[in-house]
């Protein structure tokens, strides 16, 4: 149904301005971008640069901190796309918890603080070629497909499209069953993470009764500390 609603809208756009001119009558083209587009492109460049530094830097903690910049930039992009609730969820969950989890993981695996020369594996040139080929193909396809498509960001009367009221209504009216299934999945992930992390401490506490394995666990820890 939404496609039916959108189709005359898009047809109206392309009908009002032919696609090959670029400068539409009702919509500014590439040559006269609006303020939202300029801000979007600038924040997008910052996000992309932070993502590039994240995957190329040799300092592991710096990679996690640049990931904060990239994820925060994506949150700003959500705000520019009028998806306010998603933006704050992004800030809360990604920047607030996922990056903290990653930093804890780096700390617990004793990541080197300085530059680690072996952060990249040997197939980085193959990876570069593959990612550049994928980027070229996808950018070509996407630009060719959505050359004459505009997002209408104008606010109608009432709450915005991405506000928490609209999102909550859609989530708890149409998406209740996936939401509950997702809560069960989160519970399973929580229990699984606890089980995975706790098994070693059980072995460590249980090894106190058995003298044979008492040597093995600290030896393993010491070996982990060396390398």
């Amino acid at each position: 149904m939404s496609a039916l609603l959108v189709q005359p809208l898009v047809g109206g756009h392309t009908g009002a301005a032919p696609a090959h001119t670029g400068l539409a009558a009702g919509h500014p083209g590439f040559l006269s971008p609006s303020g939202v587009e300029i801000v979007f492109v600038l924040v997008g460049l910052v996000t992309l640069g932070a993502a590039l530094v994240t995957v190329t830097t040799r300092q592991l903690v710096h990679a996690a901190l640049w990931l904060v910049v990239a994820l925060g930039g994506i949150a700003v992009e959500y705000l520019l796309l009028t998806a306010e609730f998603i933006a704050w969820v992004q800030v809360l969950i990604y920047v607030g918890s996922v990056v903290v989890l990653i930093l804890f993981g780096l700390m617990l695996t004793r990541a080197p603080i300085g530059r680690s020369p072996d952060a990249d594996s040997g197939n980085r040139w193959i990876a570069l070629v593959v990612s550049l080929a994928a980027a070229a193909t996808l950018v070509t396809v996407v630009v060719d497909a959505f050359r004459a498509t505009w997002i209408d960001l104008e606010e109608r009367t009432g709450p915005g499209q991405g506000s928490s009221e609209v999102t909550g209504t859609a989530l708890f009216r149409h998406w209740v069953l996936p939401f509950e299934a997702l809560s069960v999945l989160l519970l399973a992930a929580l229990v699984g993470a606890i089980v995975l992390s706790k098994r070693n401490s059980d072995a460590g506490s249980g090894s106190g009764s058995r003298p044979g394995s008492t040597d093995s666990v600290p030896a393993r820890r010491n070996k982990a500390g060396e390398s």
Partner: protein, 146 residues
């Protein structure tokens, strides 16, 4: 706003994440790159939801679901990485090759007393096999004893 801007940004972020997944060696850096790829998908979902003005808000609801699944994934993934690090003393993903298919001696780099009983049997295989397997196995065994 032109739809090509968020779409191209999502594509480029996805490819940056793809490079990170393929090129990184540390498992936690690979997880960071996976997060970048998931965020690119989220950006696409939000942009197309705003474009289509879906009455069900499928894009934003699926974005929320993806964020929750990514949180679960990073929790489980980091727990597995920590467990691997405790067992192996290293979280480099290109050294975790116990399950590889090789023509060399099977299970030659398992730890404990099983190494001694296996070191007798693959001796003939090592002679028959290529010398590179021995060179690969040598530093691994030395690192495990150190």
């Amino acid at each position: 706003m032109h739809l090509a801007y968020p779409a191209v940004l999502a594509v480029l972020l996805f490819c940056v994440g793809l490079y990170g997944v393929l090129a990184r060696r540390n498992a936690i850096l690979v997880l960071m790159a996976v997060e970048l790829m998931l965020n690119a998908v989220n950006l696409n979902l939000v942009a197309f939801d705003v474009w289509l003005r879906d009455t069900l808000h499928a894009g934003q609801a699926l974005t929320l679901f993806t964020i929750a699944i990514a949180a679960a994934e990073i929790g489980i993934g980091l727990a597995i990485v920590l467990l691997v690090y405790r067992n192996r003393g290293s979280s480099d993903i290109d050294r975790l090759r116990d399950l590889r298919e090789s023509d060399g001696p099977p299970g030659g780099d398992s730890s404990g007393g099983s190494r001694d009983e296996k070191s007798v049997a693959p001796a003939t295989d090592n002679d028959a096999g290529s010398g590179s397997d021995q060179r690969v196995q040598g530093p691994a065994a030395g690192r495990r004893h150190a």
